[in-house]
Amino acid sequence: MSIKVRYFASLKESFGRSEEELVFTKTMSVADIWKQVSKDKDIADNILAAVNMDYVQFDYLVKDADEVAFFPPVTGG
């Protein structure tokens, strides 16, 4: 299965990339994806996750073709 992972704002800068494709065979949660893309960094308290543009908890299980996004607290308005 293949998913797209996107990063925004300060997270995009610290990751040095805005998006990437991940391909894997086993069932993965958002937390598993975070571990893989961050190279086992702990999930900071304030990091938010969305799947297909809706907020999810980190135990959410992704499906093929999902778009997963990680980003810091939002500061619009």
Partner: protein
């Protein structure tokens, strides 16, 4: 409802007037309009700020705004809502956000505009990076709670 994400500076009063002009069916029906405009200041957290870059998650931004407005319209009695939000390079005195709510009665209009602003500030994926007069750049950490004055 009308949701606009704009890359160039916008005139909030002109946006409101255009929206009303293009909604003749509202004429004579609304008694209350509650509006909030957020404007860029030239200082923040004790520093002088000369510019700002507003990033957003295109697609999710519009989706979350529509969800928020839909939830508000289920909770209060509202005729229509307009939200305009700026992205890209922003300068002091530029409007960043406009929320306008039309309803029959003022209580619904006030409650809804404030609800939309708080939900926008806490859940809609926009991020601000400030460029200080010192030429340092910094991401804004997080928004405060607007109900705690």
């Amino acid at each position: 409802m009308n949701i606009k994400i704009v890359e160039k500076s916008f005139d909030p009063w002109g946006e409101i007037q255009s929206f009303q002009n293009s909604s003749p069916e509202m004429r004579g029906k609304y008694g209350a309009t509650s509006i909030f405009v957020g404007t860029m200041r030239d200082f923040n957290d004790g520093d002088e700020v000369k510019g700002m870059m507003l990033e957003h998650y295109s697609g999710m931004t519009e989706k979350k705004l529509a969800d928020i407005i839909t939830a508000a319209m289920q909770k209060w009695s509202i005729i229509d809502v307009l939200v305009v939000h700026r992205i890209g390079d922003v300068f002091p005195d530029d409007a960043i956000v406009l929320v306008a709510v039309w309803s029959s009665h003022r209580g619904d209009a006030f409650d809804t505009s404030r609800y939309i602003m708080e939900a926008l500030k806490s859940t809609v994926p926009f991020w601000k990076k400030e460029l200080l007069v010192s030429n340092n750049e910094r991401w804004v950490d997080k928004n405060t709670d607007g109900y705690k004055v």
